[in-house]
Amino acid sequence: MNTVITAPAGAIAAVTVTGVDKVFATRKGEVTALSGIDLHVAPGEFVSLIGPSGCGKSTLLRLIADLDAPTTGTVEVFGTSAHQARLDQRYGIAFQQAGLLPWRTVAGNIALPLELHGMGVAERAARVAELVALVGLGDFASTYPDQLSGGMQQRVAIARALAEKPALLLMDEPFGALDEMTREYMQSELLRIAAETGAAVVFVTHSIPEAVYLSDRVVVMSPRPGRIAGIVTMNLGRTADRADDLREDGAFFEMITAVREALHGSPVSRARGVETR
């Protein structure tokens, strides 16, 4: 499979995962969540992780975010350890549940990381205004999360993740709970935001069309133990140039088929019409 990255020569990778295993010790014994993971993400690149639930997508993202530590292997973010990168706030993260603080307004939620890192009040207000506009929530700065729709809450979470202008955005099924129409809209918005900020994105999803539409490359994972089954490069042009009409394009469907084949194993079984799970 084609895994050549179109990064400027000599640039430090946004993410480098080398020989990573992750074993959880549970009461019922050891669970191998990830096995032999190698992955590179170039600066500005959009990479999706896709696979059936339980294949370790969230675990891999959490390792990159230094929310968990690998059992073996190393994770580097912009040339430093994932741990140092977290302390240096080199990445922003958005979770499946938006994880907003219900007692804070939209502006208060977005300001949280800035506040924690001691940014001054005036500077903070200016940055929050910028971010609120970036995610298109201009009229809702003083609204509380419980008054927002799911899609709007996710936009707040994305704005919060972007607060420190990170060059890497980590997202774990951020649109998983949204209806199809809101979801497609959010995908386009995300591509616009990624283009505007120039951030690399590692995006977890279990939707094939979503992965295809958003990504430069789609990393296909398989379960028990979680491995990378293949990496499919999306030959659909620059992500920044993609628009909704791409969803009806023949090339788009070809890429969907390519990812599906990588997910389900050999294309041969498909040709024979054999049901694959």
Partner: protein
């Protein structure tokens, strides 16, 4: 929302206020008729009018008695709540402390706190309010401790992850997430504690110590067969308890609005 009107309509604000008032007026009217009819002996059930007369006649004494008992209850509530919050924090920080405190709190929760009144009254001397305040504090401590300890365990995993992703210090995570998540629980505890503090401060006065509180006056009035006056002080005690409860309820509502 106001669509299917007749079927399941929430009661309006006016209805919610009016209904109990109407019920209260009816009850008082029936009571007055019953007391005036001679069917019930006056010492068993003084008429509302007689009680009302006593309230007017003894208004200054009621105010000062209410202030005295109220201050004891307030000091007890504040001290008990602060100790409850502090110990709940200690218990959540160290499992060992949690294990040590759990049986003590369980014991405190089942001992009728007022049973300690004679002991504490004697221990702190006959002319001190300290014993009463301590009893109110003990009564207030239990619900505040239990609810705060529960609240400190409610932090969402996604919020913990967020704090870690933001490289927040433990102190920041405590302030921004843990304490704020626990606050509505703590204030529920304080609401429960508010009534207990008033009742305890009041009942503690039945067991000696300085005169002048509502509890003391209820017992002396009853002892001298001044039943309407005793009931008048009971009314004052109800109002005092209600005041504590409503203020605590307001605080709880304020903190729980967004959670």
């Amino acid at each position: 929302m106001s669509g299917s009107a007749a079927v399941e309509r929430a009661p309006s604000g006016a209805e919610r206020v009016l209904a109990p008032i109407v019920l209260g007026v009816v009850v008082v009217a029936v009571w007055q008729l019953l007391a005036g009819s001679g069917l019930v002996e006056a010492y068993l059930l003084p008429s509302p009018a007689a009680i009302g007369d006593e309230i007017v006649a003894f208004a200054p004494s009621m105010l000062s008695a209410g202030a005295l008992t109220g201050l004891n209850a307030l000091i007890g509530l504040i001290v008990g709540s602060l100790v409850g919050i502090a110990l709940a924090l200690a218990a959540s920080a160290a499992r060992l402390v949690d294990g040590m405190l759990a049986p003590v709190v369980a014991a405190l929760a089942v001992v009728p706190i007022v049973a300690l009144a004679p002991v504490l009254n004697t221990a702190f001397g006959a002319d001190a309010q300290t014993g009463r305040q301590l009893i109110a504090a003990l009564a207030a401590f239990v619900p505040v401790f239990i609810n705060t300890a529960r609240g400190l365990r409610q932090t969402l995993p996604v919020h913990r992850d967020l704090m870690r992703a933001c490289a927040a210090t433990p102190g920041q995570a405590m302030r921004v997430i843990t304490l704020r998540t626990a606050a509505p629980f703590t204030f529920t505890g304080i609401r429960l504690a508010s009534s207990l503090a008033v009742i305890s401060a009041l009942v503690a006065e039945y067991f000696g110590g300085p005169r002048g509180g509502l509890g003391g006056l209820i017992s002396t009035s009853a002892a001298s067969s001044a039943y309407p006056r005793a009931w008048a002080y009971v009314v004052a005690a109800i109002i005092l308890g209600l005041a504590f409860y409503l203020v605590a309820l307001g605080l709880e509502r304020l903190v729980s609005r967004r959670r």
